[in-house]
Point group: C2
Chain length 76, copies 2
């Protein structure tokens, strides 16, 4: 696993789950209690997110933390 | 899930997996490329670990990231 892979997997899963739930970044921002810019940067893989932020994102999305690390959707 | 729960689950799983693998904190430190004090603090739940550090710890332990978030061992 390369150094950016966990960030790539996390950000991709986060975006996919958000879209699946029919949430905009702004709605997720509100639910998670995280600034919209942080949500946007994280989905672009530009943040080395901390565990507390991971937890807030999972809670905002209504998913488990493990779902955010599920890499089965990464085919490359 | 309370604000410190993800840190508590992560740190407990990390310690359990390290002991299962028969590794000392110093050995894990070497394998993960993370300072021993950071390993020690993390196992005590004193660090809000980042994704990159989570990845290094998983690689050092030879486990998946999801195993580090498995909460089935938390019974309370």
């Amino acid at each position: 696993m390369k150094s950016n892979d966990v960030i790539a997997i996390f950000s991709q899963n986060m975006k996919e789950l958000r879209v699946q739930k029919g949430l905009t970044q702004e709605e997720l921002s509100f639910k998670a209690g995280i600034h919209r810019n942080y949500i946007s940067d994280t989905e672009r893989g530009r943040r080395n997110v901390s565990l507390k932020a991971v937890e807030k994102i999972a809670a905002g999305l209504g998913v488990t933390i493990q779902e955010l690390f599920n890499n089965s959707t990464i085919t490359k």
